[in-house]
Subunit: 259 residues, 2 copies
């Protein structure tokens, strides 16, 4: 198996960077080929912008989707986008490693998605969801949060972190990935007082040692359920008798059928 | 009233840019002071990074929150962050104008949040939510989506766009804002065939003319409900008898009490 790990943290000595290396080690121990793409190390530009496209379909008015398709069709995508896209197409497993900042990805990783999920190459109106370019590949988020496990739980003040990740999971599902249940490490900023801080430090070290082991047995990891193509009518509305696999879809029905 | 509009679109001739100008016009007609911050025009760097902090609390290991607090306390924040932060503190109303890219903000706007929502200045562990620095101020999203109104509806394939915006709304609530119901314009990429495309173009022009009028009567716009401070116990868990104002919190209870 080929695996691509995309790391989005500005500090090489960070806990996130250590988790990414532990993931790499665990996968390599199983004989997999691993590529680690460190977005900060390569100074990946997060802003989708006309300057990235010297050959333009329309030089007078920049439209991201149109220019992505135009350049993709002429093998003229920006070098750093081509590189990331090739790694993505090569990989059977994608792991995104990042800290939760403001209930989402750090901007550099959002920009990786904005730029590398190329219209006309990774998706089109005909190649989406179950018929997406990445169908058959698996993707997984490995996330850290500064808040406590209580506050990140389904009844927690920070919101259920697993559900907060849903828009990202849905974007991965959109391009065809099978999305595995995420890894979420809470309390990464440690405890506040002496013995509490010491205990939390030990827990984080222990968790880091487990990371490789988790990826050694990745094949048994459950996937997140999404609605089937047949659950939608021709307008893209959920059929009345379909189950609901999202807090964002048919929320009157979510608590009855949602996982 | 003072209003700050933050625009995140790479094309000055875009529909998003036109909506931002219409918002500005509508507010000015009511006699309000308006500042428009065009993130692409000022080449705002979206990636929170050690290079933005020449004076460091810890030169050996970059931690965004620690360095934000350190620089904020020494009046040494990066110039472009200081500028945006001053505008934010000056404003009584914040409007974020952006296209929905991959179920979230374009990276440049996420980076504005990552960098300008400064720890130790705009929030701290004591100043959050109802006691946040922005308490008493209002914020509002004005968003465009390429998908159809059917697909963006509560039972739509793209997910209920209003709920997809919830992580962004919650981040604004976190720093204290009263969050108004968002404006969502769907189908902005227009119809596909001749008469359909023509009709959609006219609808978008009509909607653009309404934008200013909407902001002329902004005072009557309803706010999004969030849970009260008293709804949480000391661990940050929702009390059993509290209502639920989020698809991410207590989702077993969401459909029964959620708005």
């Amino acid at each position: 198996m080929n695996a691509l790990i995309v790391l989005a943290h500005p500090e090489v000595k960070s806990y996130n960077a250590a988790l990414a290396r532990a993931t790499q080690d665990g996968l390599q121990r199983q004989g997999h080929e691993v590529h680690l793409s460190d977005l900060y190390a390569q100074a990946f530009a997060p802003d989708e912008h006309g300057r990235h496209f010297p050959r333009r379909a329309n030089p007078l008015r920049f439209d991201a989707q149109s220019e992505q398709r135009f350049s993709a069709g002429r093998n003229a995508l920006p070098h750093e986008v081509r590189k990331e896209l090739d790694a993505l197409l090569w990989a059977d497993l994608l792991v995104l490693q990042f800290p939760l900042w403001w209930f989402g990805m750090p901007a550099i990783l959002k920009g990786w998605m904005d730029r590398v999920f190329v219209y006309g190459k990774l998706y089109s109106s005909r190649r989406r969801f179950h018929s997406g370019v990445c169908a058959g590949k698996r993707a997984m988020l490995s996330v850290t949060a500064g808040s406590s496990s209580d506050a990140c739980a389904p009844d927690g003040k920070e919101g259920d972190t697993r559900l907060i990740l849903w828009p990202i999971h849905y974007a991965l599902h959109y391009v065809g990935f099978t999305v595995l249940e995420p890894l979420i490490v809470t309390d990464v900023r440690g405890g506040r007082s002496g013995s509490d801080a010491e205990r939390q430090k030990l827990l984080l070290e222990l968790r880091l040692r487990e990371q490789g082991t988790i990826f050694e047995s990745i094949d048994g990891r459950p996937a997140i359920a999404f609605n089937d193509p047949d659950d939608w009518d021709e307008l893209g509305k959920l059929k009345p008798d379909a189950p609901v696999h999202s807090p964002f879809i048919g929320h009157e029905r979510w608590s009855r059928t949602g996982a």
